[in-house]
Point group: C2
Chain length 441, copies 2
């Protein structure tokens, strides 16, 4: 059973632990940005490969990403057994915690840099593996660039991660295939439900999915659809502006022809003037922007302006933490990247992001490549418009060739008494520096 | 791949088909109320057992439940192969369609009864297996009681079904364990996500689940929780009135103690005056009652009155159609009931509902029992209040003893190219009476 909030034990480290085993330099991993179903998979693979290499002392994981590096709160992964690492690998989210932490420019505010470097010096951390999305690679870039200001050496390597799949320079972003598999499966199931109820009840079902600026997740919902009468009938992505009248006419036509209409909408779709649909229409106490709203908005349109009964769903965090429905391809690549990070560091590489390059399609395989951080930090990769046919909402062959290998294969966790047996956070040990002011609990 | 909207082929029946094979009487199955992940499982088991018995002619399934019986639109299941029946058994929702159709009192309006009996006479249907919730058993009762008005004999048997688990007279309602497993798994996963983001982002996560008058589904979310610090920290059920101040204080205390707070709320919770929270607060164009709202309402409370960042999710149909995450116990009992319906009819039983009685807990087993329709139709079974400890929101031992066997075991569908390979509706054949005015397409 999961013990989500169990407190890890805190231990003040000995001098020998700070130096690392046999004087070897220590390594730290850290997570950044929204979590995914395979962040822990990469972490477990990184820890395993680092252990096997015998080139590192202690392997740490920062508590809440950059926060842990700033505050000197790190987990010591040494006590984790092979069995625990395997369980960690199957567990969604980040067992160490992630962060939304934007580093300021060094010249404007060097303080967080100094704090991070102090932690690294205190714990003799000379290697950092930082996994995140396009904002997070900005951190990798800034930390790498700030190196010259410090006497303590720190080799930083970036790893990609985001369910939004909007990172440049990589075939896909780990985390995306599992979230996409969840969306594609859920929409098929909800479509079966909607059709079955369409005679006396709901005719229109709307699934609001994440993707503020890019439609990759919504796009994946169409993977199993080969004819216009199949669901999802409508796929709304931010890359294509939303026209109320055209869309309502289309929904009405679907209901008239097929008896029902199933819709997938990215949370970030905009009208023809480029304004977000939600921001436009949310003026009451219910409408905090971050709480979603496109699903409710569209359902309201359908019921008030087309006279059709609509239901809508908002999976929110469920879509990015669905460890029970991960893509095997995602899991395999997440492991590959975790191992590659260690290999790259040991080969003297740093200040780059590792990425995935598709080497062949059938059977599919990927290899790890190296990306200049300037080619991915803060950049956004949008859905090619020719991936989604405008009139029918059918995915192009190119889109299916791209998506199908990503979603293929299942990687289920073990279950115990009916629910997944995920990694227990209380198995972690919070490692504290002797100078810490932390209370040991 | 799923072909959700593919039209089944329509065939006008021959006289010999209407009579049934070797003059044997025909059987019809029909679904009623909100669909579940195991309605088709029962249907497939019923069809299989009926075939094996060799006591029936044609086995029909009504299109959209009672609608198909009123209009004479029935699927002929004869062409379905064993492989197709197995696939049907793994497919959520109802492949034949369900209904929200309340029969009027016979004395007030006999017309729909006459239409149904005309269909049964036309197709020589003498047996009907009707599966639904407490409203639907009202239909079974009314159809049984109206028998005396007709010369054509019709033996009706009711089967339970509802994710709300609120039907009297049965240990549980098929469909509930699978939806409960989905909720319990999803909340664990979302809790891992929320904790990981709690340092710089969301501290409170709210999952709005179905259950308008009963809290069975919300209750199941607490199955894996054994300490107050574990998620879900708060379980809100309609059986216990909601006090804004008490709840907000509790949420703030959780965030202060554990860093985050995870909440599961039934859609139908009410305030201390017995008014639904949503109806109270939804006065804008966004708030159609059937579209949910408690999640948004609570998230709004948390952010505006406690100053905490909140996210909320509304799985809606996803929770009742999650065929990818079914409970093995649910599947086994659904099959058992489907087979028992045939055995009961062949034993001369009718005008009753079959139910499940738990014979032992370890290892768990159930047997089929017979319930008087007056003891289940239109009645609602609520959650015992002692199942949920008021102060800590921990489930009692009695609640865990009841729930654990229901959720245990996984029953996964086959996947193809990344998504479940569900039953294809185009494999169905719509059987039409020679007198039909239906256009053959």
């Amino acid at each position: 059973m999961v013990s989500i909030a169990d407190s890890p034990q805190s231990v003040i480290l000995e001098a020998s632990e700070l130096r690392g085993t046999m004087g070897k330099p220590n390594l730290c991993i850290a997570h950044s940005g929204g979590v995914t179903a395979i962040l822990n998979t990469t972490a477990a693979a990184t820890i395993r490969r680092a252990r096997e290499s015998q080139q590192f002392g202690t392997i740490y994981a920062a508590e809440f990403g950059l926060n842990g590096l700033v505050s000197g709160r790190l987990f010591d992964t040494t006590p984790l057994t092979d069995t625990q690492l395997t369980q960690l690998s199957h567990t969604p989210s980040s067992a160490f915690g992630s962060c939304r932490f934007k580093l300021p420019d060094y010249t404007a505010d060097p303080k967080p840099y100094q704090q991070i470097m102090q932690t690294c010096a205190d714990f003799n951390i000379q290697y950092l593996v930082y996994q995140g999305g396009n904002d997070s690679q900005d951190t990798t870039l800034k930390l790498s660039a700030a190196q010259s200001h410090f006497s303590h050496p720190l080799a930083v390597i970036g790893l990609p991660k985001t369910i939004d799949n909007d990172l440049e320079g990589t075939d896909f972003c780990p985390g995306y295939p599992s979230a996409a598999k969840y969306i594609a499966t859920s929409i098929q199931e909800a479509a079966l439900d909607t059709w079955a109820m369409s005679k006396n009840s709901t005719q229109v079902f709307i699934l609001e999915v994440m993707g503020r600026h890019t439609g990759w997740l919504a796009l994946a919902a169409g993977i199993a659809r080969s004819h216009p009468e199949q669901a999802p009938h409508s796929i709304l992505i931010p890359e294509r502006s939303f026209c109320k009248k055209t869309w309502l006419d289309y929904v009405k036509r679907c209901v008239s022809q097929y008896g029902f209409c199933v819709v997938v909408a990215s949370e970030g779709i905009t009208d023809q003037q480029g304004n977000a649909l939600v921001a436009q229409s949310r003026t009451d106490a219910f409408g905090h922007k971050q709480l979603g709203g496109v699903g409710a908005y569209l359902a309201d349109l359908v019921s008030t302006q087309a006279g059709l009964k609509a239901h809508w769903a908002l999976p929110d965090y469920l879509q990015r933490s669905a460890g029970h429905l991960r893509s095997a391809a995602d899991v395999a690549c997440a492991q590959q990247l975790g191992e590659a990070a260690i290999d790259a560091l040991l080969n003297g590489q740093h200040s780059v992001m590792l990425a995935l390059s598709r080497t062949q399609s059938t059977p599919v395989s990927w290899q790890t490549t190296t990306i200049d951080l300037n080619q991915c930090a803060n950049l956004e990769k949008t859905c090619p418009l020719d991936y989604l046919e405008a009139e029918t909402n059918l995915l192009s062959d190119a889109a299916k060739s791209y998506l199908t290998p990503l979603l293929t294969g299942e990687a289920s966790p073990e279950f115990m008494h009916g629910t997944p047996a995920y990694f227990n956070r209380s198995d972690l040990r919070l490692a504290l520096h002797p100078n810490t002011t932390e209370q040991i609990v």
